[in-house]
Symmetry: D2
Subunit: 171 residues, 4 copies
């Protein structure tokens, strides 16, 4: 029997954002929901909340995988909350649940998640233009274990196109 | 803003079951779905699959938290798959995501999950009559840190009643 | 090339103890040091500290695997401190490092460690007479995956004898 | 009471190395042993083994924190073996045990460890000249949460000097 699940997209990025980036996050959530991805984030604020809100407001299902052990620490747009109680170590789990990873901006926390996505051989889409590690690493390889690149997406249209292709090939 | 999420019930028990227990598992899944719980299991076979199927077939949302790192190892009734790649250590995470834990039968793996549920101060409902650790520990305390008991449920009706109360008090 | 390491014994038990149990813990640490075991504990107080002190005072090497992320939270007798930052989930790691597990007394935390020791197929020696889960489970099996028992040791002499045999067969 | 433990240095780098880098690894192990650091690595081959050998051959104590669950998978120079059974997620734990982190060369695995070292506010010494992520990131910050740099060490003498200072200030 074939699995019932939808493709899962993990979105990673800063836990604090300016208004423009928050709105971009909402757009990403909307795109993912419209393409029928389940959206996974680290469950906290900033880009994580923005994407969660965007997906939620457009009918998507949102999962937050938390660093803490308290279900109530998730942003309010998570339909499902998975606390880990493992602190930063939870960064190793968010991308493990992904069929595709979308990175936006990002500091060291995001960098650790990009790195695990690479180690776990997950396709990584890096939205450019918001500086941070997603911008820095777009179009590069982290090491020789993979021949593909961290794929740069230069606009939301670019991102949508790549995600459409992944969605079409899923299952 | 209030969280949107539904109450989360983690069901734990044997990864291999006889037909009668499988059917009981499906009934538990149905009860949880009808009470609008999100159902969480370890994502594998036996009671985990039975409960997933029962919840799925009755409109519930099902999450599988896997010991391995491969999304495809989940039973086919999981709508969302969270691999951990942590082996037995994932047993510490399944009950951490619970608002309530339901235990049925069970060997050492289930015992470890009951124990973490206890350490994390989660309400635990133990369905009796299927032997294993759920039966053994029903009506007892694991240690003095809690004054409540692992609550015995002597029938599916009992279980339904307890879950209804938890659902009513949620949020 | 053969490994250089000594056999590793993980000791588990209550994080708070009375004076008599503390002294017994010191004795266990002494026995382990004299038999050239590296001693591993959860790194905190009670039986963990007592065993650490006993091993340290008799020339043994002591490792503490902590639930928190702060190296300074270990009891002062640990020569090596391994913080996990994973809270109760670290209970899955203490016994994984063992060639043999020694259990004394114990509440739910100790029970979780006994259970993981069982899941990981580690020999388990349960010192009786201090109540708690070690006493409760001595001489039993947690499930059918193993044919051996949680081995009861009715005295420190008993324990010493069993550990001597394991030490002799090591490597 | 003051802790008895020695300062702990975690060394991270490639699991496969050429002969020259292996010899440099042995030198690093020797330096650490002579400065009375306990040496921690990921317990496998390449730079991890070289540093372990160098420390061992010079009287140091060596700890290997393994990705797998099997104690026998460690390189033969580990005096103490801590298996995690958590795969790549163990990369979050190696640097958590550090008072100081030394990075040499390195691919994505090493990058994940540098990143966790940064998140955990550990001092990071990057030995330059062996390319890889240690070389790439030497002299930079991963994000704004810290004002110090990943400190470049341009030679083993440089490294020895920095480690001496850390050793002198320890405790």
């Amino acid at each position: 029997m074939k699995p019932l699940r939808l493709p899962q997209a993990t979105v990673i990025g800063d836990s604090e954002t300016d208004e423009a980036t928050y709105q971009m996050g909402e757009k990403i959530g909307q795109i993912l929901a419209e393409l029928s991805f389940t959206v996974i984030t680290g469950g906290r604020g900033g880009i994580m909340e923005a994407v969660s809100k965007g997906a939620h407001d457009n009918g998507g299902t949102v999962v937050g995988i938390l660093p803490g052990s308290d279900l109530s620490q998730a942003n309010p747009y998570c339909h499902i909350v998975i606390p880990t109680g493992m602190g930063h170590t939870r960064n190793a789990l968010t991308t493990l649940a992904a069929d595709v990873v979308v990175a936006v901006g990002g500091g060291a926390g995001t960098l650790s998640e990009i790195t695990f996505a690479w180690l776990y051989h997950k396709p990584i889409l890096a939205l450019t233009g918001k500086s941070g590690w997603a911008d820095e690493l777009a179009g590069t390889r982290l090491d020789q274990r993979r021949i593909d690149l961290i794929l740069p997406c230069y606009s939301l249209e670019d991102l949508q196109q790549e995600l459409t292709q992944i969605s079409d090939n899923f299952g």
